[in-house]
Symmetry: C2
Subunit: 607 residues, 2 copies
Amino acid sequence: MSSENVVIKDRLSKLRAKMAEYGIDYYMMPTSDFHNSEYSADFFKVREYFCGFDGSNGTLVVGQDFAGMWTDGRYFIQAENQMKGTGVELYKMMNPGVPTIEEYLFQNMKEGQTLGFDGRVVSTSIGEKLEKKLSAKKISLKIDKDLAEEVWTDRPALPCHDMYVLPDELCGKSFGEKLSDVREAMKKVNAKAHLLSKLDDICWLTNIRGNDVECNPVILAYAYITMDKFILFVQDKEVTDEARAYCDKVGIELKDYHEIMSFISGASFDGDVLYDKRNTNFLTYKTLSAKADELKVALVNKKDPTELMKAVKNDTELKNIREVYLRDSAKLTEFIYWVKHNVGKVEMTEYTAAEKLDSMRAELPGFIELSFPTISAYNANAAMAHYEATKDNAAEVKAQGMLLVDSGGTYMGGTTDVTRTIVVGEISDEIKKHYTATVAGMLQMADALFLEGCTGRNLDVYARRPLWDIGIDYNHGTGHGIGYILNVHEGPHSLRWRYAEGVSEAVLEPGMIVSDEPGVYIEGSHGIRIENIIEVVERSENEYGKFLGFDHLTYAPIDLEAIDTRYMKPEHVELLNKYHKMVYDKVSPLIQDEAVKEWLKEATRAI
Amino acid sequence: MSSENVVIKDRLSKLRAKMAEYGIDYYMMPTSDFHNSEYSADFFKVREYFCGFDGSNGTLVVGQDFAGMWTDGRYFIQAENQMKGTGVELYKMMNPGVPTIEEYLFQNMKEGQTLGFDGRVVSTSIGEKLEKKLSAKKISLKIDKDLAEEVWTDRPALPCHDMYVLPDELCGKSFGEKLSDVREAMKKVNAKAHLLSKLDDICWLTNIRGNDVECNPVILAYAYITMDKFILFVQDKEVTDEARAYCDKVGIELKDYHEIMSFISGASFDGDVLYDKRNTNFLTYKTLSAKADELKVALVNKKDPTELMKAVKNDTELKNIREVYLRDSAKLTEFIYWVKHNVGKVEMTEYTAAEKLDSMRAELPGFIELSFPTISAYNANAAMAHYEATKDNAAEVKAQGMLLVDSGGTYMGGTTDVTRTIVVGEISDEIKKHYTATVAGMLQMADALFLEGCTGRNLDVYARRPLWDIGIDYNHGTGHGIGYILNVHEGPHSLRWRYAEGVSEAVLEPGMIVSDEPGVYIEGSHGIRIENIIEVVERSENEYGKFLGFDHLTYAPIDLEAIDTRYMKPEHVELLNKYHKMVYDKVSPLIQDEAVKEWLKEATRAI
């Protein structure tokens, strides 16, 4: 029999006592910060604290006689192990017969009971769905209480790091200029005020950066914008003297981060309020909408205007991005050389290889941080979508097969993202076929020529077709937008093909940058992904409109050892040779080591 | 000075007297029948009767001191000529400074006034827009009065032709089977009743056909469906004995077409009512929604379930369609031969050429009618999107340039649609370049291979890319669905690329058929369109899903005299040769005349 986990049981019983105290019958703990960021800091690991499971996705629901944790297929085994002896039941999401949280609560809660959760870590769409479903049973919600606050005594602090200001010359556009654009957009929808909750949008708009979310150079903040005011809600402690002087100068009024809810409750909107429901947490939304009702103004739910402005890079940003990508590509080239020449000779694991690359990147001028934790996956591990090697759990990289490395950095001048699958030894003919088709898809997408008005849905087949032709698909989008000294994933545009009723798309515009990353994932055998970042550029204009295309931003060699021209159309060979010539011409001047340069010449030869 | 048109002026003054009698200040007359059919019968030509303009698009608005007619750029000159001396002002739609009808009425009508129109010939979307805009000025609508009825004494009758019943063996599925499917779909949205207004959907569902709309083998009808009843509203006079016996047998209750509104007003829905707002006219919608309010049931606005069922052809339909398309292709081949061998020798105009083709089609077994009026356009005329040659106004076809012919027939076994652009003499190198790119686009689209889940928006670039590569686009969709012994245009699927927020798309499914018709239109010079109909077929299935592709249904030669391989990729040449081999193999056995057969061999030779 497994022993009891008394630590967790004790925590749960303290939580239940607090629930009783506040009249909460069920308490829900999902996995998110207040801004639905890609990474949550330790402060937000409430679910982990109360059940022991530390995977990246999971929601814990606790009642007086019940505790259940919902997670997806990636984590069934891990969750079962980590929750042993806690009494917490595992609910395997998407498995037949397993209720969703909503269904479970609807079936098990009684009329008149209360569901509690911290409304700041729940998205408005989920909050509204729960509210609607449970209201049929007269169940009420209590969303303004974070019970962990009172139980978790040694809780880590909310992230709070010094903010810093980017010079206008680096941003290409001052805060003042950006703010006028936002105000113009507000006028277009007749909004007198705008509440902005999205961290990278706030940072882009203010030209401020920070370090409050892992790998995202952002500050925890809200912004409130009217025609004559700009209020930034941010933790007092992270405002440096330099930042305060900047804010004074450009007219940013500072208020403490924790004042946001009381500010909204006490606000006096003199007209409609623009907000973006997708980016606004449930408590903020409810507070905002109660206030709007009271003041008899409307809430205008539209995409944050900053989203599109941020996505279309300006000339300064583009110039810096192009340079940063070249330097980053040169560094990756040196890393590929290092892997190929050291595999089988030095001790190398997925983890140490990633460490090597990370340390090489850190040498580059203007390096700030990794843009995401480096993915380093050897052979069959590369077939797992969410594989993460750790120091203690990493495969040895031997002189056989392939190593997939997906990595990037954020620099003063841009944020990068690139994937190469590196041949480190013998590979099968089947792998060559898959590799060649992946490369053909990546190059064919980058070679697209299209009329302005196209979205990623029109073009995605270019990347997939060579794989579809051999009966293979990859279960992820082809591409995402990338921030400028910001998050590695941003919208509104993307390269995806699947249709979903009502999902909005964004037209591709010159100045947008997007990843182009087809792949092949064969369970238990191998995984291949080749990712370049490409820039939307104008090719020509005539009476039919603007014809657009893509320029590569990434220039790193594609492994010719895995290319078999028997699986390529003549135009794919041509595209590869053309690309490789550019790689050598652009990257070799940035490489000091003659041996690497020599190798690169061979690695980029025409085939 | 132009003389007065006393006939029109007299009609307008009688209309104004009636308007005064019914308290209507402005009366609006658009161009539509009660079901928004593609063609309106003479009965519906009210606008033409009151202003003289007979183009295919126009809306007349009459006040006591005002008469204005709104039409689009195709018709400015024609409208001006036809309305001379009538006192009716021309409003040039989309021209700068010209108000829309909605804007005009909002600006010129006074508070408390009444706008009248026949709510049966106005779509619900337009009706609702007018209602919303004008309600701000307290203007009311009177939509249940067709004033033409009382003024237009020699008005043609409402179309009323004998209906007929298709045998179940020809339809592949009986009315009873189709009805169960519809009832299943109703249950899925919790509807107890369903009002169906779309004529081709009603005909598809009942296996009944008629002749009430030009080129559409449909009856004027409404259908009302509950879990135990099926009521067909149709003019008594068109119910033949055979049709009545069929209806009795399969459980179709007949009521007169004109009873529909009073039926709805007197109905007793015992649950929610499914309807499709896109297909329901404004009067029907308002009557239905008033009744639903009264009975406290909801209206469920969803796509008519029949739309998708009708679009996915069953095996019997597909078998018949394939045969019909072969015969139709053979006939078109004979016509192309006739054109090429008679041009410059016999008198030939665009109109007589079309007559020739129409009469040839009429010889085919099971011929019912043309599926649309044949488009026959010579040289520069082919560049005009809506060009229509008439007996008195048709260009002579000389032995120079090209003749574009877009045509089709409805047969007992299918409805066809095909376009070929036929070289009749010398053409320029530029034309060859355009022609070759058009053909490459058509063939490349048909060669698509894609995972189930794709819609036309994912694939449209295949047809356009060869044209985009030479800086050309065509300002229409690439493809539309086609009915089975029904309308030549049907949804829900299509091949189009442009994104519009909220517009719904349909996933391509095996059994759907769709046109593939890229083109080039150079004003004042030439027009090219090549149209095949293609069928969605399953190619393979594996763990990634079903891989789909297209099979051609149309097999008619593509004019090699206009093909220049310098403008083709190797795979385009391969596709053309492969297609031409199939054309010869499939079509030559259907051709009797040895000379034609001989010519076809040469016309489909590998290049």
